[in-house]
């Protein structure tokens, strides 16, 4: 089953702010929406960023972010170097799991940490109705953001693509090692979860094998608002480096065995162990000789990753694990929040605690003050931890760390 992705230049973008604002007008839980278009390189800091979504549309009229299977078939259009950044400061006191600041800098030292400082950023600054409650506001912002991403891509239906790629896994040399991607999706309740076809990850029967193209084609969307640097925004699934690398290497250095979605953030030790055992079992079922295990979220879900690593290795499936470090700046040893001896092959996506030198933007979008009240333009060095996706643990970026 092949899937074709057509890429269109961002020249095709024509942002009609009024039309986008209309999308929010239908949502009771939202009071207002401001639309700003900014470009990478401009001295802009964007705060309270919830997610990042690439404009996508399907010529056959099916949803770009479908609420039911099956994505990853037929044709989808994407706009290159364009991203929608929804921003929201949740009103009210109730902050269940201390969601933390989330920043994107389009220039300055922080601009190197996230992949948004090139191209066109359509910033949607949402204002929630104070009495609507966080869940309703979140559902509305996500709905409007995805609708906006699709609306922005509509002009591609009348344009010529720059290029076209087809994703398909044909039969290849059986002597090549078979590699699976075990992709962790977290679910700690609304505001801290990823969605598969619009359903919270914890409710879709994980672990589950999916067609890799489904992951690239809008099956997974994000709604997780803690640990900014460790978030896996929607964009990182749409443009996923692990899956596209495995497609590219299929038939060359490996056979791509498939993608397994597995659960993170189970709350009890027994549930964590069960999730790990089941994921390893599914990896064995797809015939994997090796698996790359990726992480979603903070230390709590690192435990599942390590347990899954151990379970796979016990089943004879060799593993490589991707995760971020939380190394104290004076520590004499890299600090991983969890570890098992079987995890002898780890890719580090960088140290969250490292400080990015202070930088003063000329313009701030999303909100003038950070969540802790500091004026956003006026801050001291900011830890990597607070930059959206900067240490994401699917290995999307070139970030890493070294011993010195």
């Amino acid at each position: 089953m092949a899937w074709t992705l057509r890429t269109f230049s961002s020249d095709v973008l024509d942002v009609d702010a009024a039309r986008l604002e209309e999308l929010a007008a239908d949502e009771d839980a939202l009071e207002a929406l401001e639309v700003d278009v900014v470009r990478g390189g401009e001295p802009v800091r964007i705060t309270h960023v919830l997610d990042a979504v690439e404009p996508r549309i399907r010529p056959d009229g099916r949803a770009a972010f479908p609420l039911e299977p099956k994505a990853g078939q037929g044709v989808t259009h994407r706009i290159d170097q364009a991203v929608v950044l929804p921003c929201l400061d949740f009103p009210g006191e109730e902050r269940p799991l201390h969601e933390q600041e989330s920043i994107v800098d389009l220039a300055g030292p922080g601009s190197e940490l996230t992949p948004f400082a090139i191209g066109t950023n359509v910033v949607l600054t949402f204002h929630g109705r104070p009495d609507a409650g966080h869940r309703a506001i979140d559902s509305s912002t996500r709905r409007v953001t995805l609708a906006a991403a699709e609306l922005l891509a509509a002009l591609t239906l009348e344009a010529e693509p720059d290029r076209e790629e087809t994703f398909e896994l044909g039969p290849v040399d059986e002597s090549l090692p078979s590699i699976a991607a075990l992709v962790q999706l977290s679910d700690l309740g609304q505001l801290y979860q990823l969605y598969v076809y619009g359903e919270p990850a914890g409710e879709v029967g994980l672990p589950r094998v999916v067609d890799p193209a489904e992951m690239l084609d809008g099956a997974v969307t994000a709604g997780e608002y803690h640990w900014a640097a460790m978030r896996n925004p929607t964009l990182f699934f749409q443009r996923n480096s692990l899956v596209t690398t495995l497609y590219r290497e299929h038939g060359k250095r490996l056979r791509f065995a498939g993608v397994v979605f597995m659960r993170g953030y189970e709350q009890s030790a027994a549930d964590k162990q069960r999730a790990a055992d089941e994921a390893a079992h599914v990896a064995a079922e797809v015939g994997a000789d090796g698996a790359v295990i990726t992480t979603d979220g903070g230390g709590n879900s690192h435990t599942e990753v390590m347990l899954t690593c151990r379970a796979c290795e016990s089943a004879g499936i060799r593993t490589a694990v991707v995760l971020a470090e939380e190394t104290d700046l004076d520590a004499t040893e890299a600090i991983l929040t969890d570890w098992v001896p079987e995890a002898d092959c780890i890719v580090s996506t960088g140290n969250l605690e490292e400080l990015v030198p202070a930088w003063r933007p000329e313009r701030v979008l999303g909100g003038d003050a950070l969540l802790d009240g500091t004026p956003a333009a006026d801050v001291a060095p900011i830890p990597v931890r607070n930059y959206l996706g900067a240490a994401n643990q699917m290995g999307q970026l070139c970030a890493g760390a070294m011993s010195w």
Binding site: A269, E333, I335, L336, T337, D338, W339, V340, P341
Partner: protein
């Protein structure tokens, strides 16, 4: 790390700590998660009893390398 060297001498050891991660990274085999850095063996006697008894169970258990137990079983 003391615990590892005592283990190396063949003496069965339970390391009680509120930061078991570092211990497992270093390779300590039996770690019991204690309630806090300020009172690894608990605040009051009933809690201390539960922690010590769990530690004794761990001394008697055949565990996989670098195992961490919780006090509440």
């Amino acid at each position: 790390m003391l615990a590892k060297e005592i283990e190396r001498a063949g003496i069965t050891t339970v390391f009680v700590s509120s930061l078991p991660t570092i211990a497992t990274m270093i390779g300590v085999n039996r770690t019991l998660r204690g309630p806090a850095i300020t009172h690894p063996f608990g605040l009051d006697e009933p809690e201390r009893r539960r922690i010590v008894e769990r530690a004794l169970e761990m001394l008697e258990a055949d565990v996989a390398p670098t195992t961490v137990w919780e006090v509440a079983a």
